[in-house]
């Protein structure tokens, strides 16, 4: 028996196959979930993959954030399901207000497609339990709207409750302006919800899952996720 991960497909999603491939490589079960689906009882975790759902029309993630499957995520999380949103998935989670804040147009106005180094700030989440505090991961980003923004109160809460999981950094873990590819406040690259069940990150873990393609640090996050769902042969969450 292994953890069952549902990977949502919106019109315009384009990373779902890589996510499914990475999950299956790690021994998890993965299946595609069409965005109209509201029955998530067969899954332990849901991934909102990268892409350009609805063409980023209106705002990136705006329309997908109101899809039936996303409306069902609140209840899914309440009964213990885990949710990971990468890139467009992070945008969707913020538009759905499952995570606070918003992803805006990159400050430099350029689309940024590049490798980034990420400082791991919180290893208490189901998505980062397999990592060391202060570990630096390498994962690619590919986005035009990745600048994380939140109001002052939200930023205070994120800091106080240690909800920032990943920050853009240099290769040796320094959080600097030069290492920030999109102007995100506090170099924030990924955050987790208060209950720890929902992770949103702009980098693509599924694109750092093959040594031949540049690195496998993304597997560490997916492995932590799968490992959090299966402990001593029994499922923690269902």
């Amino acid at each position: 028996m292994s953890a069952r991960v549902g990977v949502v497909v919106f019109p315009g999603s384009n990373c779902e196959q890589d996510v499914v491939h990475a999950v299956r490589f790690l021994g998890g079960e993965a299946a595609y979930v069409w965005h109209h689906s509201t029955d998530l009882t067969g899954f332990d975790a849901i991934v909102l993959p990268g892409g350009f759902s609805y063409g980023d029309y209106l705002r990136a993630g705006a329309v997908a954030g109101r899809s039936p499957v996303v409306e069902a995520l609140g209840e899914f999380v309440a009964r213990g399901g885990l949710v990971l949103g990468s890139c467009n998935g992070f945008q969707i989670l913020c538009e759905a207000q499952l995570l606070p804040g918003v992803l805006m147009r990159n400050e430099c106005l350029q689309y940024r497609c590049q490798s980034t180094h990420l400082l791991v700030e919180n290893v208490e989440t189901p998505f980062t339990r397999g990592l060391r505090p202060g570990q630096v991961l390498t994962m690619p980003i590919s986005h035009g709207e990745g600048k994380y923004h939140a109001d002052a109160d939200t930023l205070v809460a994120l800091r106080k409750r240690n909800l920032v999981v990943l920050r853009y950094a240099t290769a040796d873990g320094q959080v600097t302006k030069a290492a920030n590819p999109n102007g995100s406040v506090d170099n924030i690259a990924g955050i987790v919800s208060e209950d720890g069940n929902v992770l949103g990150l702009m980098p693509h873990p599924e694109r750092a899952a093959e040594a031949a393609l540049g690195g496998t640090d993304g597997l560490l996050i997916l492995q932590s996720l799968l490992g959090s769902l299966v402990e001593d042969g029994t499922f923690l969450k269902r």
């Binding site: 209106l58 705002r59 705006a62 329309v63 109101r66 918003v102 805006m104 147009r105 106005l109 923004h149």
Partner: protein, 92 residues
């Protein structure tokens, strides 16, 4: 009644608007001097049927609050105009 609604969505004051800044910087090079405070937003036009103006305004406001604008970084302004008394009946 049929109403026409125009929704202007703009970044809230204080929200970084690099698009607006980029345009503001480009204008002098094209010969436009003295153009300041350039900000870029989005305009959405739609028509809707409603029993009266108050109901129409409320419906558009709700749409703005729920999807047309992101309240974290955007504010909106609605212009509502009554177009016709009633929808034309379809068919012969």
């Amino acid at each position: 009644m049929i109403f026409s609604a125009v929704v202007d969505v703009m970044p809230k004051a204080g929200i970084s608007d690099p698009q607006g800044q980029a345009i503001e910087r480009a204008l002098p090079g094209l010969g436009f001097e003295g153009f300041d405070h350039v900000r870029v937003g989005r305009r959405i036009e739609l028509t809707l049927e409603a029993s009266d103006e108050a109901t129409a305004a409320e419906a558009v406001r709700t749409a703005c609050d729920r999807i047309l604008a992101n309240p974290v970084i955007e504010e909106y302004r609605i212009t509502l105009v009554r177009l016709a008394a009633a929808a034309k009946a379809g068919g012969a």
